[in-house]
């Protein structure tokens, strides 16, 4: 079998764990848990993000995410979505660790509701505290190489810059900055947010990202399960193209057929 066809040949590592799939998917916005589970299956994802919320004590018998997506088979990555201060995020992840026992977490500290842009001052503060408490935070961040470096120094196990605002589906608006982050990082870089369709995911991977995290692009597709398949293919294709090394660009044509021997 050719080198690139071996599925275990190109795993990526984060915080000492190894994963074959470079696609991380969210579990929000789906019609129901069954559709969500089917989309996760189709995506091939080995990690899903989950939110931490109050249990519904008025109706405790409602179906739960864990009934449909087995945390023994799929790695749960608890997030801090909805947190606007370091303290809220830290409190949320301490609870997540108690509920699931996991130290690998997704930290996001938001600056404002309109753009959901990360507040990097609070994010950095939270990263420092979490790392000291033994967490391994994968950190949603701005496409800011200085802030990214500080996050790494503070203990971030992955840098996850947005490609466009969360839920916008605009595709990568900042290819140059994403590439700079990839070139400087000593930890995995994953585009987190902004992907709208398959080609966006391929772009992220072709830039050399270690992975892509997405939710809305799959959940809000007319057919989420089919889009999940598309994203699986897009991430794999983009990764292969990156590894293959793309051709150089020219401004003018260059014929593919020989000029010699023309009749």
């Amino acid at each position: 079998m050719a080198r690139d066809e071996r599925p275990d040949d190109d795993n990526w590592q984060v915080a000492g764990r190894s994963f074959a799939s470079r696609l991380i998917v969210g579990t929000g916005k789906y019609k129901d848990f069954a559709q969500n589970a089917a989309a996760v299956e189709a995506s091939g994802a080995e990690i899903v993000t989950v939110a931490v919320r109050r249990v519904n004590i008025s109706d405790p018998k409602q179906p739960m995410l864990m009934d449909f997506i087995d945390p023994k088979k799929i790695t749960y990555l608890p997030n801090t979505a909805g947190c606007f201060t370091a303290e809220e995020a830290i409190r949320t992840l301490r609870l997540a660790r108690e509920a699931g026992g996991w130290t690998l977490v997704k930290l996001e500290v938001l600056g404002e509701a309109r753009t959901l842009y990360p507040d990097m001052v609070e994010t950095l503060r939270a990263t420092e505290v979490l790392a000291k408490e033994g967490f391994e935070p994968m950190v949603y961040c701005a496409d800011d190489p200085i802030a990214a470096k500080r996050l790494e120094d503070a203990g971030a196990v992955a840098i996850m810059p947005l490609g466009a605002p969360i839920g916008s589906g605009l595709g990568l608006q900042n290819r140059v900055m994403i590439r700079i982050l990839v070139e400087q990082a000593r930890v995995p870089v994953l585009v987190d947010a902004g992907v709208g369709t398959a080609s966006d995911a391929s772009v992220a991977m072709e830039l050399g990202c270690d992975g892509v995290l997405m939710n809305t692009a799959i959940a809000e597709a007319k057919d989420p399960v089919t889009m999940a398949r598309a994203m699986k293919g897009a991430v794999e294709s983009g990764r292969l193209a990156y590894r293959a090394g793309r051709m150089g660009k020219r401004r003018y044509a260059d014929p593919s057929s020989p000029l010699a021997g023309l009749i």
């Binding site: 969210g26 579990t27 929000g28 916005k29 789906y30 848990f33 969500n36 993000t49 989950v50 939110a51 931490v52 919320r53 109050r54 249990v55 004590i57 405790p60 018998k61 739960m64 995410l65 864990m66 749960y76 608890p78 997030n79 979505a81 409190r91 301490r94 609870l95 997540a96 660790r97 108690e98 509920a99 699931g100 969360i166 839920g167 997405m214 939710n215 809305t216």
Partner: protein, 77 residues
Amino acid sequence: MFGFPVEQHETISIRINGQHRRVPKGISIADLALELGLEPARVAVERNLEIVPRSTLRDVAVEDGDDYEIVTFVGGG
């Protein structure tokens, strides 16, 4: 709402996820969760802003005026 005869016991007043509840005096947090219909293995409990380790849920008695947050994992991005 509780399965046992609350009226025969002294009750105390607590808050769970922002809602006031009366529960029997002396109940453990684990029994509280079970009575609420929750699986203790799937939730995390914060009592007066301090996490209660899951291993101690059976040992900690609910006290009058306690404020609880009980959380679990839900879908999210």
